[in-house]
């Protein structure tokens, strides 16, 4: 063996022995509860704020802050104030997501992470392994299953063997006056996620009684088409007798929807158009998007900002206080706000003696109703969404509630 290799081999042997001795002492638990003192609970957040794609969820942080501020103003949770450290920016980068989780736990020593809202959740296994209660937007599979991770409106990723949320098909049926004899066209991006979306929604819409005339994941997923006529032409000929379907359902992101909807309308489509992402009053600020989305029915899984419930008034109040001025509301604020709210509610139920165990126990039998995301229940929320939603319709530059916020029973998904 040459000299360098020999030296390295010797070092290897020596150091591995050291490693063996110390590996066992690595996971000792401190006597006190991480992040909980007599009068404070330390909480952090992880949110995608600056990204190369320019997509930002940074208002999630504001929403969470607003909710924690109110909790503290009301005296905190069982006498403890929430010390919210603000959200770490993960930039939609898995490596940074994990690093942020590690920083919050190992450096800042938080008790919980809430909100966590990103398109990646590489830190999930670490947070769950370190027993860190985490609440966030359940659009990722990590929110469905792990013991310590909760979605603020449940787990939004259907799993085979689980259930499907029927909010969208049912409320669409309400708009169309029943699903019988009505045809829908489903369109999604050309990738695995799009395929999966098409599969689940086809089942959901069929179960609700719709005829699914077109269901394809065909739109190039990374570079948006500049021309949509190829897709609209096919859709408009897919309905019964070669005509247009009664509704076009897009399972895509906003920029795609704007292109598709504009093209549909230009080809003279008069039916119903709907998507689940474009509930963003910020979109109304620009004429082009306002026009493209006019008349579109948008699904949302929380109470619409247009509703006038006490909880919604409270939400608007809290946001205004936290921002220091009137700001246009968006769904990210709701994500942050309701993530914080779910954490607070469970922590309150856990009682004065707040530990991870008491938190988990409290969560295991947690339920309440009438919140901004409907009726919440754990551990049901680890397997399925809370199943509540509303449809709003954009009309003359304003969102109007088309189908009020309501909870629907899910169907099995096999």
């Amino acid at each position: 063996m040459p000299r360098p290799l020999r030296v390295i081999a010797a070092a290897f042997a020596l150091l591995l022995v050291t490693a063996c001795n110390s590996a066992s002492s690595g996971g000792s638990t401190p006597s006190s509860v991480r992040g909980v003192t007599a009068d404070a609970i330390k909480v952090g957040g992880i949110v995608s704020m600056t990204t190369a794609s320019g997509y930002s969820k940074k208002d999630t942080d504001l929403g969470a802050r607003a909710r924690y501020d109110r909790a503290n103003a009301e005296g905190g949770v069982n006498g403890r104030k929430i010390q919210y450290l603000g959200a770490e920016d993960d930039g939609q980068d898995p490596a940074r997501n994990l690093a942020a989780a590690r920083k919050l736990v190992q450096q800042d020593e938080v008790f919980a992470v809430s909100p966590m809202s990103s398109v990646t959740f590489a830190g999930a296994d670490f947070l769950d392994g370190q027993k860190v209660p985490t609440v966030g937007w359940g659009t990722l599979p990590s929110f469905c299953g792990p013991a310590h991770i909760y979605g603020f409106n449940g787990c939004l990723v259907p799993t085979p063997g689980g259930t499907l949320n029927q909010t969208w098909p049912e409320s669409l049926a309400a708009v169309l006056g029943g699903a019988r004899g009505k045809s829908v066209a489903l369109i999604a991006g050309d990738n695995d996620a799009g395929k999966f979306g098409i599969r689940t929604f086809t089942r959901g819409f069929k179960a609700a009684g719709f005829q699914v005339a077109y269901a394809k994941a065909v739109v190039p997923a990374t570079s948006m088409p500049s021309d949509w006529s190829a897709y609209t032409k096919e859709i408009l000929r897919s309905g019964p007798g070669g005509g247009a379907p009664d509704a076009v359902v897009s399972v895509m992101q906003t920029p795609y929807n704007i292109g598709l909807f504009t093209a549909l309308k230009r080809s003279g489509y008069k039916g119903l158009i709907t998507d689940p992402t474009d509930y963003d009053p910020g979109l109304l600020a620009k004429d082009a998007t306002k026009q493209a989305l006019d008349g579109v029915h948008v699904l949302l899984q929380f109470q619409p900002f247009e509703s006038d419930s006490p909880a919604m008034r409270q939400f608007k109040d809290d946001i205004k206080k936290a921002a220091g001025k009137d700001v246009p509301l968006n769904m990210h604020m709701m994500t942050g706000y309701m993530s914080a709210d779910l954490f607070l509610s469970i922590a309150r139920k856990a009682g004065k003696d707040l530990t991870v165990e008491s938190f988990q126990n409290a969560a295991a039998g947690f339920s309440d109703s009438g919140t901004l995301v409907g009726d919440r229940a754990e551990p049901k929320g680890k397997k399925e969404s809370f199943g509540c939603g509303a449809l709003v319709r954009l009309k003359n530059g304003r969102y109007e509630v088309a189908v009020p916020f309501k909870c629907y029973p899910p169907i099995p998904f096999g």
């Binding site: 360098p4 050291t18 063996c20 110390s22 898995p94 065909v218 230009r266």
Partner: protein
């Protein structure tokens, strides 16, 4: 039919944008030799600036757009050219590719950071978030018409078409009908020859970069309503338009333009008609990359020096000859310290970060193999990482143990590597980089969309390995194990480099043909190189995924691979331990920055990107920068010592009896005309190889000095020194009595020294007329040439490359008669010409002498040239063996000079 027309028309919209970007790419590439991967980022910056100025500051649309396209974007191009591209033109292709990739990362971050800073300063900017339906130059929302049933057009599309058409027409007029355009085309055709004509190719390349940036800016502003503000989308858009640049073979602007238009249409047609692909997830998404890949493989001609060749010679080893302790001592100590630190000083958080850095360092080592050793740029390393980790995760979910799964994953990555290597067998340099990038995107969009492989967004769990009492779930143990593994891999890679196979690789890299001739299989070596590199990346990937404890298909995308490359090459790819440093820096620096410098996430990105700028100065990376500079300085000092020593051999003095013209001495003595060109004591060579050992020569106006010498005597080197292409290491060059030693080729040419280089001094891609117009701006001068050479007149629109050798030589020399230079250095003007043409050439040269031009004729064959000579000098082994008037030339002297016997003591 209506469908088809509609598809074609609207496909022309994105086609127009592709065309604009591709045109810019080709322009800047052909003028400077640097393929600008950051071209899309320039477009993004302009889109961002347009949005902020128009929507934020409320500036009017059209003037803002004009300001950006005509002033700001060209300015940015000019500045980047001055700071970066100009220097990059002189370094290897790898550094060029990486530097512009760094820029691709840094520019958008810089833009967003600027917006952030402006916002803090209270300027009325809007957040630089991606938004949709942004207003373009036209009305917002766009007005739409339906001229034919089923075919819709809106105002944004119309504006894009019209603007692109105007830009294309303007560009055509500029290139074809202005002197600037002519010079640009000349520089594209033959950069060195342009400089020899006294035209600064640097200034031309600046112009090309400014034009190119302007076009990118135009594309950016036009694309704002379509693409919004996603830097990512602009970059993807650029890669697609690179396809069009490939269709133009990187040099033809019209072809690239047409290719761009065609690409847009093709994409639309596929979307409209390729319903058979519905079952292949990701196929439609991948269409542009399929076209890019196919275009590269089919269209790119195998070039003699395509990237892997002498353009990228292996760097000099600054540690050559040092002992084991000097080479490795520091690294061993650093490794031991790091290993100990895990159990002593580092907090759990930092242990985790360091372990992460080490894990990514393993991946980075794969670049050391493919880029460091093989000088090939692979942008598909992230694909190998994802592939290996997915396979390992899949197998572990079936109960395989970690080691077996890791081995299988590594093997899968190696297999993928072999597939990716296939284009490498044909391509090199930027073409290879683009091909691997296309494959990386294809893998992301098709291969990793396979449900069985990716397992949805959940991915696969890859738990940390546990072997007996060693449990790597502890970050410290993981870190230590990674330190040791890195050490083993560094040792193995270092041995590999020194092995027979490593030498074969270096041979293939430096001169594939020569390597093949010496029995080294180029195909096998390259294939093996890619396979090893991919396997290494795969192994690193499995370990990195195991650090994360999970792999999902979107963890490491093709774009991640770009950032990695910039980070690792900035640190240096020549030695594997630099990759470890790069990994640690990549993991640690962002946290240090947020803790101590700024919360802004943009700054680390900018810094990582700008490390590419440093490559222009230190192509070997920052790890090697200090030692290699020191080594270079030492070498320079040594060389200096050598050259100040007394000359090894005598110069021509002793023989120069009675040859007052060529004797050394001061010019401008009483009553004496100064020499037109005088070299005194000139030493010159290439790298470490001296060629000229102190040459003295002088030519006076209206005189012909014929320099004779055998093959390899240093004649062409002397010509290069005379023309300013090669700066002498020592000695003085005077032109008309003035010291011109430090001149560039351009400055030398402007002093009136012309080199007619060996071979033909014409621009083969330009017409006869253009060749003449480049030197003779006045039409009557050109007419005079045509009058003298009716053969040229008859074919003035024919490209010079298609003329016979003799006609080309006449074309090269003819314009000089109209504007005689002070000095003409002609390197083998009669080489390969028919005797009748040789006579004509010498007659032309004699005529030039009569016009007062000083001629330095360099010939290997004495017979033809002697007739024209006033003075003769023999060059042998880099020294003037004899010089004197022609009358004193005799057979013996000639033989003596050719055999080199005369100079030997």
């Amino acid at each position: 039919m209506g469908d088809l027309l509609g598809f074609v028309l609207s496909g022309l919209v994105s086609g127009a944008l592709y065309a604009l970007l591709a045109t810019g790419l080709v322009l800047s590439y052909s003028a400077s030799g640097v393929f600008n991967f950051a071209h899309g980022s320039t477009a993004y910056l302009c889109a961002l600036a347009y949005y902020e100025l128009h929507s934020g500051f409320g500036w009017p649309a059209v003037p803002t757009a004009l300001l950006l396209v005509c002033v700001v974007a060209p300015g940015l191009g000019g500045v980047l050219d001055r700071l970066m591209f100009r220097k990059l033109a002189g370094v290897g292709q790898t550094a060029q590719i990486v530097a512009t990739i760094g820029l691709l990362v840094a520019l958008p971050a810089a833009g967003r950071w600027t917006v952030e800073l402006l916002e803090r300063a209270g300027a009325p900017v809007l957040p630089a978030e991606n938004q949709f339906g942004l207003p373009g130059v036209g009305p917002s929302p766009a007005v739409s018409w339906q001229p034919i049933d089923g075919v819709g057009v809106d105002s944004d599309q119309l504006i894009t078409w019209i603007t692109t058409a105007v830009a294309a027409a303007g560009l055509w007029a500029l290139m074809r009908h202005t002197h600037l355009g002519l010079r640009l085309r000349a520089a594209v055709d033959d950069r060195t020859l342009t400089e020899l004509r006294g035209i600064s190719a640097d200034r031309l390349s600046s112009m090309a970069w400014m034009l190119s940036s302007g076009l990118a800016g135009l594309a950016g502003v036009l694309a704002t309503p379509l693409l919004g503000l996603s830097a990512h989308d602009y970059t993807l858009f650029l890669f697609v338009s690179a396809t069009a640049a490939v269709l133009g073979r990187f040099v033809s602007v019209p072809l690239a333009f047409a290719g761009g238009l065609g690409l847009g249409v093709l994409q639309n047609l596929v979307a409209g008609y390729a319903s058979f692909t519905d079952d292949i997830t990701g196929f439609r998404t991948a269409v542009p990359f399929l076209v890019l890949f196919a275009g590269l493989v089919v269209l790119v001609r195998r070039q003699r020096a395509a990237g892997t060749a002498a353009a990228d010679p292996p760097p000099v080893d600054y540690l050559a000859g040092k002992g084991w302790g000097r080479r490795w001592g520091g690294w061993v100590v650093a490794g031991a310290l790091l290993g100990t630190a895990f159990y002593t000083v580092t907090t759990p958080f930092w242990s985790g970060i360091l372990a992460q850095g080490l894990a990514i360092g393993l991946v980075f080592m794969s670049f050391t193999v493919v880029t460091g050793l093989g000088a090939m740029v692979s942008l598909a390393q992230a694909t190998f990482v994802t592939g290996a980790a997915l396979v390992a995760g899949l197998l572990m979910s079936h109960g395989w143990p970690f080691v077996a799964a890791a081995a299988a994953g590594t093997a899968a990555a190696a297999l993928l590597g072999a597939v990716v290597a296939l284009p490498a067998l044909r391509l090199g340099g930027r073409s290879l980089a683009l091909a691997t990038l296309a494959l990386a995107f294809l893998a992301d969009q098709v291969l990793f969309q396979l449900g069985r492989l990716r397992n949805g967004d959940t991915g696969w769990e890859i738990p940390r390995p546990v072997a007996g009492p060693v449990d790597l779930a502890d970050d410290r143990a993981m870190g230590l194990a990674l330190v040791l593994l890195s050490a083993v891999l560094v040792a193995l890679l270092t041995r590999l480099r020194g092995s027979r196979w490593g030498r074969a690789m270096l041979a293939v890299r430096s001169a594939p043909e020569a390597a093949a001739a010496s029995g080294v299989s180029v195909v096998r070596t390259k294939l093996l190189l890619f396979t090893v590199s991919a396997g290494l990346a795969g192994l690193g990937g499995v370990l990195y995924a195991s650090y994360n404890t999970r792999i999902t298909a979107t963890d490491f995308t093709a774009m991640t691979g770009l950032v990695w490359l910039a980070v690792v090459v900035a640190a240096g790819v020549r030695r594997p331990q630099f990759a470890v440093v790069a990994g640690l820096v990549f993991a640690v620096v962002p946290h240090l920055m947020t803790t101590y410098v700024t919360e802004s996430a943009h700054l680390p990105v900018i810094l990582f990107g700008l490390a590419g700028l440093a490559l222009a100065n230190d192509p070997d990376g920052y790890c090697a920068a200090l030692p290699s500079r020191r080594a270079a300085r030492r070498a320079a000092t040594r060389a200096g010592d050598r050259s100040s020593a007394p000359p090894r051999a005598r110069t021509a003095d002793a023989y120069a009896t009675g040859a007052g013209n060529t004797a050394p001495g001061t010019d401008g003595g009483p009553g004496e005309t100064p020499s037109a060109l005088r070299l005194s004591g000139v030493r010159a060579g290439y790298g470490g190889a001296p060629v000229l050992h102190g040459v003295d020569l002088a030519v006076r106006p209206g005189e012909v000095l014929v320099l004779l010498g055998p093959n390899g005597a240093g004649k062409s080197t002397l010509c290069r020194v005379a023309a300013g292409l090669l700066r002498p290491a020592d000695g003085v060059v005077r032109v008309r009595g003035e010291d011109a030693t430090r001149d560039t080729a351009v400055a030398r040419a402007r002093r009136g020294v012309r080199l007619a280089p060996e071979g033909r001094g014409v621009f083969p891609g330009l017409s006869i007329e253009a060749n003449l117009a480049l030197q003779l701006t006045e039409a009557e001068d050109r007419d005079a040439v045509y009058a003298r050479f009716p053969g040229l007149a008859a074919r003035r629109t024919v490209v010079a490359g298609s003329l016979s050798g003799g006609e080309q030589q006449l074309l090269a020399l003819a314009p000089l008669l109209q504007r005689p230079p002070a000095v003409l250095v002609a390197d083998e003007p009669s080489l390969g010409l028919a005797p009748r043409v040789v006579d004509e050439v010498f007659q032309l040269l004699t005529e030039l002498r009569d016009h007062g031009t000083a001629l330095l004729l360099v010939e290997e064959k004495a017979a033809d040239a002697l007739g024209a000579a006033d003075t003769v000098a023999y060059l042998a082994q880099g020294e003037i063996a004899w010089s004197g008037p022609r009358s004193e030339v005799d057979r013996d002297r000639l033989a003596e000079a050719y055999l080199g016997t005369g100079v030997r003591r």
